[in-house]
């Protein structure tokens, strides 16, 4: 099936999310749609999938103009979509989720679950997915949930499959499996639109690449193009792909976590005897697939949750059992994982958001009232220092872009003298410019001698920032490894494989993307990093490593 988008334009108020976009997807090709966060990729695909009405433009299927009023029409035309946030009902079984919307029925409108199971089984067997049709979706790991989404699309006979940022939640090994699935689908004649901002993946699988920037198509590229070339096309200027940082100068270990355990209300052990130290002047990155205890760890440290056992000391002071206020006063800076919910108060102005934690302290407080002049002066100074692009410091923080919201959060947390900085997913959903800024500020904080803990599910980010990497799986520490550990080893550890086994496996069986890394490194004539030596080899700087 040939799919063509012609002159698609979609506006949201004054914002033009898609500006006359043309795109042709040929039958049986993997077409990558490359662009940074906020470039308009997802909007375009939602237009194609009938979730948004385009303001202008046409969708052509096999050269026939079509109008999709809802997703039902798009599906009927043979278009399937795997959304970035899975569209699965967590309390339904796999078979029920796949059947939803086109359910096989027996007499009287009763579900024919045997038929629904058979459909899942058939597709699952054809592609070797190994998915149990009777499993509840909420009990499945994200990789398996994604396969359920693919089965869902294929069971509706999708001929064009849209994958929206499909690798964001996967380990490198899972990504590898996904790439294999994509190739298999391509073999069987399905076209794939692969939406991503990850250059490495695009080069590994795409047949053709269309680059989008600020809602416009800025060009087509060949998969053989160099990463730096693609990056500059995507961002619109040349970018350095790594973080410039000096080797860490670790001082005393002032942060000590001992045997922290958390059991949630359902009796699940979310944190299981977690112990580690962080030294002044080093960045410890906590890597792991989402939902393996990272959130609980940061919330316990901040005092938002109570552990059933264990201790957390900062500069020798026990902080478990203290209030959040006490923890903040002890010098902990915290960048929460979801800035829109926990990081800012969207209706408050930028100036107010910048003093959320200090509003009751001099100079911002004056007796029972606040001192607006001081709050404003602070805001003017911080917005300049942290490059917050806002029409005014009185603008509601919720109206800023994601990158600028995150800068507000960082500016607030770094405006106190810190004894520890904890940042969860500091660059999730940000554009490249903001990512560079946030990373450089974090490194700067480290160089000031602050211990820093970064929680990230993005291996790229972990590898770019970390001096040491702690890998978590199901609430336990799988291992603590040097910052230059091979990404395949980390990927296996994120799936719960212990360090030694992970090194052995990674050495014999590299992922596609890992191999691409190796080749790139060999070109720059450095020794291959695998297997990870216990004494880390000096690495070429990140730019060459990428």
């Amino acid at each position: 099936m040939k799919l063509e988008l012609r002159g698609i334009t979609k506006r949201f108020g004054a914002l033009v999310a898609n500006d006359h976009i043309d795109l042709v997807v040929e039958p049986g090709e993997i077409h990558a749609l490359l662009g940074e966060n906020g470039a308009g990729k997802s909007t375009l695909m939602n237009v194609l999938y009938g979730l948004y009405d385009p303001d202008e433009g046409q969708i052509l299927v096999d050269d026939e103009p079509r109008v999709f009023v809802g997703p039902g029409d798009a599906m009927a035309a043979g278009i399937g979509m795997v959304h970035q946030h899975f569209m699965l009902v967590p309390v339904f079984t796999v078979a029920e989720n796949v059947a939803l919307g086109h359910e096989p029925v027996k007499g009287g409108g009763l579900l024919d679950l045997a038929e629904a199971r058979r459909r899942v089984k058939e597709i699952s067997d054809r592609f070797g997915f190994d998915v149990n049709p009777d499993a509840l979706v909420e009990d499945l790991p994200v990789g398996a949930q994604q396969r359920v989404e693919i089965i869902k699309a294929l069971s509706r006979r999708a001929e064009v499959l849209i994958l929206d940022e499909p690798t964001a939640v996967l380990t490198p090994q899972e990504t590898d499996e996904l790439i294999a699935i994509m190739r298999q689908l391509k073999e069987s004649g399905t076209s794939i639109v692969f939406i991503t901002h990850k250059l490495r993946e695009v080069r590994a699988v795409a047949d053709r690449i269309t680059v989008i920037r600020r809602g416009k198509v800025v060009g087509d590229a060949d998969p053989s193009a160099a990463e730096t070339e693609l990056a500059s096309l995507m961002v619109g200027r040349s970018v350095s792909l790594g973080v410039a940082k000096e080797p860490a100068q670790p001082g005393d270990a002032t942060v000590k976590i001992t045997d922290l355990s958390v059991i949630d209300a359902a009796g699940v052990r979310q944190l299981d005897a977690v112990s580690f130290d962080v030294a002044r002047g080093e960045i410890l990155a906590i890597a792991g697939v989402q939902g393996n205890g990272q959130t609980e760890l940061t919330e316990v440290m901040l005092g938002l949750q109570a552990p059933v056992a264990g201790s957390f000391t900062l500069d020798g002071r026990e902080l478990v059992g203290r209030s959040v206020t006490d923890v903040l006063r002890a010098g902990v800076g915290f960048v929460p994982e979801d800035r829109t919910i926990d990081g800012i108060v969207a209706e408050f102005s930028v100036a107010e958001n910048l003093v959320l934690d200090l509003h009751d302290q001099p100079p911002f407080a004056r007796g029972v009232s606040m001192n607006p002049a001081k709050v404003l002066a602070n805001a003017e100074q911080r917005t300049v220092e942290f490059d917050v692009r806002t029409p005014s410091v009185h603008a509601p923080a919720g109206t800023l872009s994601g990158g600028n919201q995150q800068k507000v959060v960082l500016a607030r947390e770094m405006s106190r003298p810190l004894r520890l900085l904890i940042a969860s997913q500091p660059t999730r959903g940000l554009d490249v410019g903001s990512i560079e800024f946030v990373h450089s500020r974090i490194v700067q904080e480290r160089d000031n001698g602050t211990p820093v803990i970064i929680v990230s599910t993005e291996l790229d980010e972990v590898l770019a920032l970390a001096d040491r990497i702690l890998v978590m799986y199901r609430g336990r520490i799988v291992g603590i490894v040097p910052g230059d550990t091979d990404r395949d080893v980390l990927g296996l550890m994120m799936a719960g494989v212990p360090l030694e086994d992970a090194q052995a496996q990674a050495a014999t069986h590299h992922t596609l993307l890992g191999e691409a890394d190796l080749e790139a490194e060999q070109e720059t004539a450095s020794p291959p990093p695998a297997p990870v030596a216990s004494t880390p080899t000096p690495q070429p700087d990140e730019e060459a490593g990428e």
Binding site: Y49, L51, G70, P71, G72, D73, M75, M81, M87, L88, V89, P90, V91, F92, E96, N97, A99, L100, G101, H102, E103, V105, G108, G109, L110, L111, K152, P247, A248, Q249, P250, S261, I263, A265, A266, G267, R269, D272, A273, S275, E282, V308, A309, G310, D467, R468, I477, V478, G479, I480, V481, P482, G483, D484, P498, L499, S534, P536, P538, Q539
Partner: protein, 430 residues
């Protein structure tokens, strides 16, 4: 980086893992109630009095003679059984084991029996056990219909706190139509229409105008009270014989089944409304969980966007479910007038719609569960009536509180961790 020496991540040696703190709420509750029962019903009362239970009616296949027991001894034995159950619960909690649903059920029955033994001690009138159960089912009717209505709406993601108003509207229209046509059955047909009208307003405001669903529901309750009270004071009072003298639905005996002792008269000597109720509970239990309609209904209430992406019309599904829910609640409203054989009175539903909401939660958004919860509340309601008749040592004002106290304790104590439909109360706007 090279400056740091990395210690090999030695696996932590196996040691005793910290466990979640044990919740002693349940065994303490059982123990306290069991002790109160032992002291109050068993040890304190004077010796030598008897209690009599009547177990059958004259119409049954074979009649069972009324059972007379010595009150004090029986109450002590029953209370001791309750304390043994509390002990089992304590033991299980200490060993972190789960006990089945049988324990609270048996415990409840035992304590209630101890209470009844005490309440009837030394009374000349025997306690009609069959009548007590029959009346419980009767009083549970509006609660069952109300909780099923709430369930239908909430499973689709719309919170319906207007059940009270829907019951009242159903009661009103059933009374008026039955009076005018002189037919209880026509009144029964009219009742759902009134409930649907209230539901139509609910969806109009909560879906079309995206107003907070709880606020709309509360306002609708007040609106229905106002409208029916106004019409009652003006039209219905002016000519009560034409507009407000509904005939009563006849009781229909199901042959054979109705003659089984104890159970027969309770379940099968009822009005058509009760038989409709059985059918609705069974149909909903099957269709909500096993049909295409039910799968879509639940998908819309759990993850509307996922439903939308597979081509299900979210708001249309919600409107239909809410209208159907309104019809079910309206039908339940007919209980107050045509089924009970009473004229319509101002605010005659008396908060039953809210207790129905509690029954829905206690029943975990599940038709059979809602039925069981409604029966529990109906029983506590009727107990108060029956004890009022035979006369007990407890002041009647306190007895009147029973159904509400039972509701609060049941919802707070027995519910435990339940998971409502994930998207309930959240409007779906593209």
């Amino acid at each position: 980086m090279t400056a740091t020496t990395v210690a090999p991540p030695a696996p932590a040696p196996e040691k005793a893992k910290p466990l979640a703190p044990i919740s002693w709420k349940a065994p303490i509750g059982y123990g306290v109630v069991g002790l109160i029962s032992l002291v109050l019903f068993g040890l304190l009362p004077a010796d030598g009095q008897d209690s009599t239970f009547v177990l059958s009616t004259s119409k049954d296949f074979f009649t069972i003679d009324p059972i007379t027991v010595p009150a004090k001894v029986t109450a002590i034995v029953l209370s001791v059984i309750a304390l043994v159950l509390a002990g089992i619960s304590w033991q299980a909690t200490r060993n972190r084991r789960k006990v089945g649903a049988w324990l609270p059920v048996v415990f409840g029955i035992v304590v209630v029996l101890a209470f009844l033994t005490w309440a009837d001690a030394g009374k000349s009138s025997p306690l009609p056990l069959t009548g007590l159960l029959q009346g419980s089912l009767f009083l549970a009717i509006p609660l069952v219909f109300g909780s099923l209505a709430g369930l239908l709406c909430e499973r689709s993601g719309i919170i319906n706190v207007a059940i009270e108003g829907q019951l009242l509207a159903g009661a009103f229209l059933a009374a008026v139509v039955a009076s005018i046509t002189s037919s209880a059955y026509v009144g029964l047909v009219a009742a759902p229409i009134a409930g649907m009208i209230v539901s139509a307003l609910l969806v109009l405001f909560s879906i079309r105008y995206v107003v907070n669903q709880i606020i709309v529901g509360v306002v609708l309750n007040v609106l229905v009270v106002g409208v029916t009270s106004y019409l009652f004071s003006t039209v219905l009072k002016a000519d009560a014989s034409t507009f407000n003298s509904p005939p009563k639905l006849p009781t229909i005996d199901i042959p054979l089944l109705s003659q089984i002792p104890i159970v027969g008269p309770v379940l099968f000597r009822q009005t058509i409304l009760v038989y409709i109720m059985y059918v609705v509970v069974v149909l909903l239990q099957i269709f909500v969980f096993r049909s295409r309609w039910g799968l879509r209904l639940r998908a819309v209430g759990e993850h509307p966007k996922a439903a939308d992406t597979v081509g299900i019309k979210v708001n249309r599904t919600r409107v239909r479910a809410t209208l159907l829910g309104g019809a079910v609640a309206g039908l339940g409203g007919a209980f107050f007038t045509v089924a009970a054989g009473l004229a319509f009175g101002k605010e005659m539903t008396g908060g039953k719609g809210f207790i129905a909401l509690a029954a829905m939660i206690l029943g975990r958004w599940n038709p059979v569960g809602a039925l069981a919860a409604a029966l529990l509340f109906g029983f506590s309601d009727n107990l108060q009536v029956v004890l009022g008749i035979i006369g007990t040592p407890i002041p009647s004002q306190i007895m009147l509180m029973t159904p509400y106290v039972v509701t609060i304790f049941a919802v707070a104590g027995l519910v435990g961790r339940v998971r409502p439909p994930a998207a309930e109360g959240i409007p779906y706007v593209k």
